[in-house]
């Protein structure tokens, strides 16, 4: 796929999570390590990576107390830092390939860390709370290990981890991709959402509607939406379920064929670590270990007869055949919710039901599920029927995988850093490497400008910016930011003049961005 590749060998990539509140005494240093990949790296090496990170966090705080170390750029490696929770740091050390030496997508790598953290929190709550629950650290280690290795396996192509590189400069991790729907369909979707909420019987349940790998509607907070959407695209949507089909979504570039051997690479090294962790955390009893759930485990979701998705990840309910429904944590309210996913053709509906509102566990929940499908409330049409209609409407209006391709343009549009739309990856791949490198570099510049702007004025982070670069190869590489929206564009076949290129942006803006980037 042409992406900068990284060996899973210890040289290629390292990822560690450590807690600065732990292991501060001589001889206790190992205690601060919560996770290290690859786990079979000698402790001395692990400690040296963490030692350098910790040293630089302390050092940079001398000058920048509010924002400690974000990246160490060395000749051969980039160390990308992310303070996931206060004093809990994630550091990714990536070896630079010859190809991407010029432009390492530090921001994209940080978003990988951010993503895996938010997914972890979604299923397990914050790391800090887990550490507080079980202070030896055994619990969190036993959870982090499978979770992150499962997550990383999505980046495996063959035996190599393919982390974001300059090739991915026209996509934005950590955002949702929306389906554009017509007015009529939008009304249908609205009423479906109402029906869902009402038929679930509790007022505080939330829903998320996806069509293919695109978001149609959400009633969740933006952050929770992003986490759940990410998970859905990774594991729940029809694409995710039918492993083997190569997805056109960037969130899913794995294919089953290549996964198997690769996974075993990880699991092999995993067993080493399992031993390590077990031997270190003797307090952790067998039972505890067995209870570790792997929400990102591959190919563990399937569609049940009732149309609801089920998984054995969380085990089976005692006494009945039904599998246990997973529970997720909402970020803002820290509420615990049952995650129920229903699928009809391309339509995936995620319903979050408060755990507190269901008295008798799985039994109660299955009742709710049944109600959702069959109950006739306000609009005298059961939700199941509504879903049929919505699916039909959306399918009709759906332009296929290349629906958002605009010929002549290769673009990425980001709204408020939460929603993005981009040219299909297959189209982006037709760009010359030089164009991609130039765009990657330009995005870095824009990120810096944004950061500078935000740090200098707390009130208004919006940066009005227009940059048009004619690269060495003649391609126009363009960035525009305006009113919280960002547009990045590569025009390879545009004519020579700046005016022509600007005109092309203007047309695009008028047509697809309601004129946000138009000058008048």
């Amino acid at each position: 796929m042409g992406m900068a590749s990284v060996n899973t060998a210890s040289e290629g990539m390292q990822l560690c999570i450590f807690d600065l509140r732990r292991g501060q005494q001589e001889g206790q240093e190992l205690d601060k390590i919560l996770f290290f990949f690859p786990a079979d790296l000698p402790f001395a090496t692990q400690l040296s990576v963490i030692g350098l990170s910790e040293g630089l966090i302390t050092f940079t705080r001398i000058f920048s107390p509010d924002a400690a170390c974000e990246v160490i750029e060395a000749e051969r490696h980039s160390h990308v830092f992310f303070e996931a929770e206060s004093d809990i740091w994630m550091v990714m050390v990536v070896e630079k390939s010859k190809e991407s030496k010029a432009a390492c997508q530090v921001d994209a790598l940080r978003k990988v860390l951010k993503e895996v953290h938010s997914l972890f929190v979604l299923f397990h709550g914050t790391m800090r709370s887990m550490l507080e629950k079980e202070t030896s650290g055994g619990l969190i280690r036993s959870h982090l290990y499978p979770f992150i290795t499962d997550y990383l396996s999505d980046f495996l192509i063959g035996k190599k981890l393919q982390l974001p590189s300059f090739h991915d400069c026209l996509m934005e991790r950590g955002t949702v991709q929306m389906l554009t729907v017509g007015r009529e369909a939008a009304i249908e979707v609205q009423s479906l959402v109402k029906v869902l909420e009402c038929s679930a019987g509790t007022t505080s349940c939330y829903s998320l509607v996806l069509f293919q790998d695109l978001l149609v509607s959400t009633t969740l907070s933006p952050d929770d939406t992003i986490s759940l959407f990410t998970y859905a695209v990774l594991r729940l949507t029809p694409h995710a379920l039918s492993s083997g089909a190569t997805s056109w979504s960037y969130l899913q570039r794995t294919n089953a064929g290549s996964q198997v051997p690769a996974l075993s690479t990880i699991t092999n090294s995993g067993s080493v670590s399992d031993n390590i962790y077990r031997s270190r955390d003797t307090s952790l009893d067998q039972d505890n270990n067995c209870q570790v759930k792997r929400p990102l485990h591959h190919n563990r979701w399937f569609r049940g007869n009732d149309g609801f998705l089920a998984s054995d990840i969380w085990g089976a309910d005692n006494g009945s055949q039904t599998s246990v429904t997973p529970i997720v944590y909402l970020q803002l309210t820290e509420e615990r919710m049952y995650l129920c996913a229903y699928q009809y053709k391309s339509l995936t509906i995620i319903l979050l039901v408060p755990v507190s509102s269901i008295l008798n566990g799985e039994q109660g929940l299955s009742l709710v599920k049944q109600q959702v499908l069959e109950n006739v409330c306000v609009l005298s049409v059961p939700a199941s029927l509504k879903m049929l209609r919505v699916e039909e409407k959306l399918s009709k209006g759906w332009g296929g995988e290349n629906a958002y391709h605009v010929s002549g343009y290769r673009y990425l549009l980001v709204d408020d850093e939460r929603v993005s739309r981009a040219s299909p990856p297959a189209k982006v791949m037709t760009l010359a490497k030089d164009s991609l490198l130039a765009m990657s570099k330009l995005r870095e510049e824009v990120n810096l400008e944004k950061k500078a702007k935000c740090s200098s004025s707390e009130v208004n982070c919006d940066k009005e910016l227009e940059i048009c670069v004619r690269a060495k190869n003649g391609a126009w590489v363009i960035a525009r930011t305006s009113r919280g929206k960002e547009l990045y564009m590569v025009l390879e076949k545009a004519s020579e003049t700046l005016l022509y290129a600007s005109d092309a942006v203007e047309k695009f803006s008028n047509r697809y961005c309601s004129g946000v980037f138009s000058l008048d």
Partner: protein
Amino acid sequence: MSSSDSSSSSASDDPNPKLKPQPLESQFQSSLTLEDSDGVARTDDASVAEQQQEQQDEGSGNGSVDGVVNVEDNGHRDSSDREEGIGSGEARDGDGGSGGGGGVVWRRANSEVELEVEAPASPSSSGYAGGRGSSGASSASRADDASEEDEIEVVGNDDGGAVGAPDSQAEWTPGKRHVDEDDASISWRKRKKHFFILSNSGKPIYSRYGDEHKLAGFSATLQAIISFVENGGDRVKYVKAGMHQVVFLVKGPIYLVCISCTEEPFESLVAQLELVYGQMILILTKSLNRCFEKNPKFDMTPLLGGTDVVFSALIHSFSWNPAAFLHAYACLPLPYATRQAAGAILQDVADSGVLFALLMCKHRVGTSLKVISLVGAQKASLHPDDMLLLGNFIMSSESFRQVTSESFSPICLPRYNPMAFLHAYVHYFDADTYLILLTTRSDAFYHLKDCRIRIETVLLKSNVLSEVQRSTLDGGMRVEDLSVDLQQHTGSTSRVEDKPHTETPERIRESSLVGLGGPAGLWHFLYRSVYLDQYVSSEFSSPINTHRQQKRLYRAYQKLYVSMHSKGIGPHKTQFRRDENYVLLCWVTPDFELYAAFDPLADKALAIKTCNKVCQWVKDVENEIFLLGASPFSW
């Protein structure tokens, strides 16, 4: 820079002898007197008075009372011995725990080492401490000058400087300030841009702010970071934290670090570190590496004694001198014939065994360097960076600047030959105009003096000096003078000269949006001729009036330059950039690079048209704004 114990002498006004800075001048100025002693290294401590007396006798230094002409006794270096430059430094190091010699050490460097080692630095402090005092080099009392350089980040969002002071650049005081700070001081931590030089053993050599001695611990931390990464088989380039960037540059045994929150790109900062390193090489030559090979704990601070002022001036120039990032030099606009006349006499001199002859002048504002003419001996070419460093060295050292004095000092041109010393004869014709003659021979003082006299005669006769003065007063190209109709320009060869005086009523403002600057909202431009290694910059005019605005524009250009020349994928061809401050347009071709700043509301099409006109205008007057056909530049 610890002063030598022997420098007990007169001018020491610092109560703390250990930390007393050695006046730079004392170390770099070579004594005319000594030249008399034809080549024999003098090891006795000629008393200061004696020397001064001698100088006076010498007659050339009429200002000798203030020690201007006066130099220490190391006068002659053996030019055949160039490579040895630093050797004596080592010798000295080994020699004196006393740390004596202080700054003088290196000077003795390339001559008869062992002997000179003995020579205490006494003469060194002779008249110069006074001179230095006047430059305020390291006196903490200057610390509170409200110059932008001192700005602490908290002060403002904008890294602008002294608020609103239109010409605050003039207020900039050379030399190190805030010596009372160290890494524990909040104010020190909040300085926007730190520069450090340290040795690979972690010994501090230079810090822009704060006292190096007090920063030993901090310095050791920097060293630890570098070597930790090095031990992992890698090399650290930079670390980012919030708006801060820590940039590392390893040059053999010398580590250079910049800690900045100025939003300058990494590439700019590392280029600045390269220049700081180059400045050090200019003073010491690269052979200092050998000192470290022999003794890893080698303390080179004495070698750089008194040069704080040189480094701080260089670092200051990073904020306003485009030469620092363009890697090009600027010429003083002059009528073609005038420059020809100057070039002819310099060429004459160059043919008589002078390696390079440079006639330079100081820019009206600030201390920017502009070339009037320069020639090199056959095949010798001078890199623009070397010119920047040489110019900075000479202009930042007070003693060179004394009008009518003459100085003879060893210097090394890092791009020309980092291992060897050359010898520079420097003479100021007037407050702004000076001549540099570079030679490989350490005994060429009198020859160069004769050359200078010849040059001076010709320059006076052909009115070059008065033309220079006129041009400095008139300034360079002004965006207001870019007329809309290009036809008016063609044929007006003396355009630049006459411009300020001629009215061009035909001039129309093209854009109604803009009431200031040139046509179509043009505010400023920089034009770099690739083949000539020269650039021309328009004069700052409204609305880029204040130093703060000028610095912001400078930074914007710098960013644009880096963006255009980004490694691996550059250079880009064109760039248009609009933000809340400007419209910037950049155009890079094999022949030239144009950087232009417009009103942020400027019309794109008009801006492009205007850029074309600027290029045409520059071509029309290139005879006057550039030094053409300078033979050494035919690389």
